[in-house]
């Protein structure tokens, strides 16, 4: 299989409420990516946009931004799912032999809608929706399941929040850099027990874009390529009551595929840095386990030992993660962008020294139903 690289990246700042329109944000992210790559719009062979009709309040949400994404006269498609899924599709379109380069761009304005109603709409209209369940209350059910299985406590979840909000100070794009203590998290307002305010990610606006290219395509650009070594994508079942919420078998499936493709046997040792989708604090601990970094139920021990801190053996979320900025859908693409910046050595104050191989992770659906994992290196 031919090699595919990320050759350009661009992100807007992530903010609680932007005055920019969807088009403004997409244009900003796309042009930043093209400029980062050192090319121009003519170098882009085809486009994959990533957006969601409910979040945008528009059926055919892609229609709003086709022109801002540079679609004129080009093949274009739209994935409605996490940005990492869009990146995977963009990669496939190149591998098919039809194109040498793909621009993948995603946008969201969480501020323009009502998150609880939008995520309530992902539940079954007949059996679940009228209960009022949403992303946060369902995540809380998962958090408790995980606590029951693992013995992890709210204090362990809080450590994730402290780490990630602290890391965000080094990320100029991040929305919520915060110097907080474990006590601050524990004392924060109860949202849906056991989740408190500082266990939850914020509402965010923003856009992000990447340019993918094969060996032929990278020649159009000036930036050194960061090669995708492995990718895996997998979904669990939907009905919460019939899923093992405490264990993420879909992440296990996705990561095993990615590791196999990349020839990785010991991720904890062989990968230098990871960007994971921590929509809620407890999720990061669950994802450690799904990724095989810690045995089942032992995710908390990793963070307690400082393994995933900035100066630890395997820093996780030097960008501040999703807890610090949660532009839904965009956040997965942002993880891939952060991973790319790390291996390029371009991550500024959040750079992990000597990082050459990174992992990026995105999720979709209630309680992290589906997962996509990328491994990237120079």
């Amino acid at each position: 299989m031919e090699r595919i690289a990320v050759v350009g990246v661009g992100q807007t700042n992530y903010e609680r409420s932007k005055e920019d329109t969807f088009e403004d944000m997409v244009f900003e992210a796309a042009t930043k990516a093209i400029s980062d790559a050192g090319g121009e719009i003519g170098d882009i062979d085809n486009i994959v946009t990533v957006s969601n009709d409910f979040w945008d309040g528009r059926t055919i949400s892609s229609m709003a931004i086709q022109d801002a994404a540079g679609s004129w006269g080009k093949d274009i498609s739209t994935v409605e799912g996490d940005g990492t899924f869009g990146a995977l599709y963009g990669m496939m379109r190149i591998l098919s032999g039809s194109f040498d380069t793909t621009l993948v761009v995603s946008h969201i304005k969480g501020s323009e809608g009502v998150m609880n109603l939008i995520t309530n709409a992902m539940f079954d209209p007949i059996y679940q929706r009228s209960l009022g369940i949403d992303a946060t209350s369902s995540a809380a059910l998962q958090a408790r399941s995980y606590m029951e299985m693992s013995g992890a406590r709210e204090e362990d979840f809080a450590l994730v929040s402290v780490k990630n909000h602290g890391n965000a100070f080094n990320n100029p794009y991040a929305q919520l850099p915060m110097k907080i203590s474990l006590g601050d998290v524990m004392a924060s307002r109860k949202i849906s027990e056991p989740l408190k305010l500082l266990d939850c990610s914020p509402i965010s606006d923003g856009a992000a874009a990447i340019i993918l290219a094969n060996e032929r395509g990278i020649k159009r650009f000036k930036k050194a390529p960061a090669w995708i070594q492995g990718v895996g994508h997998c979904a669990d079942s939907f009905n919460l009551g019939y899923r093992d919420l405490a264990r993420s078998r879909a992440l296990k499936g996705a990561s095993l595929k990615a590791y196999q493709m990349a020839g990785i046997a010991d991720p904890l040792r062989e990968i230098d840095v990871m960007e994971l989708y921590d929509a809620y604090s407890y999720m990061e601990l669950m994802w450690y386990e799904g990724l095989g970094l810690a045995p089942e139920g032992k995710g908390a021990s990793l963070i307690r030992a400082g393994v995933t801190a900035m100066d630890g053996e395997l820093p996780v979320n030097p960008s501040g993660g999703v807890l610090s900025s949660h532009p839904v859908l965009v956040a997965g693409l942002a993880r891939l962008i952060e991973a790319t910046l790390q291996v390029r050595g371009e991550a500024g104050r959040r750079q992990i020294n000597g990082a050459k191989k990174a992992l990026a992770h995105g999720i979709n659906g209630p309680c992290g139903q589906a997962h996509c994992v990328f491994i990237i290196s120079v």
Binding site: G57, N120, P125, I126, S130, L131, R189, I191, N239, G241
Partner: protein, 152 residues
């Protein structure tokens, strides 16, 4: 002299998507709801291959990917597998916070049903506790025909 355009404050255009829906419950789901409405009974459906009993019922077993056929009445009592106390309110909630969601594994079912937990104090809530269905007085053939699950 300032240009009038520089002083323009950005406008926000409010709106709402008001599309009414009439979701087809389907034959399988309709049987489930009619049993709730008319008999205050909870029925599940069983897969002949793996033997799993599904509540709410599904027409195809997700594990075996074959049609389910056998209807099985399950108990109205069960075990609380997980719960959360919600402290915020939005328009889809059936009533104002605090409210409690739970995953209830009914006796006879092989997985849990998502529903409200009621008539309970916060301190009482524990995973593993026994709960029992409380049916609504006015039942219309919907998931809300079960009002909530309460401590058994």
């Amino acid at each position: 002299m300032t240009d009038w355009k520089d002083d323009v404050k950005n406008i926000v255009c409010p709106g709402r998507i008001k599309v009414p829906y009439t979701w087809s419950v389907g034959e399988t789901g309709s049987r489930f709801f009619v049993a709730l409405r008319d008999n205050q009974e909870i029925w599940g459906i069983k897969c002949r291959a793996c033997g799993k009993v599904y509540v709410y019922p599904v027409k195809t077993c997700p594990e075996c990917f074959i049609q389910t056929e056998e209807w099985v009445k399950v108990e109205d009592t069960g075990t609380l597998e997980s719960f959360t106390i919600v402290h915020y309110s939005h328009s889809m909630h059936p009533f104002k916070a605090p409210l409690v969601y739970g995953l209830v594994k009914l006796d006879g079912a092989d997985g849990a049903l998502l529903h409200l937990i009621g008539n309970v104090k916060a301190e009482q809530l524990k995973t593993g506790m026994r709960v029992k269905a409380v049916f609504a007085e006015e039942r219309k053939g919907s998931i809300m025909d079960i009002k909530c699950f309460a401590p058994a």
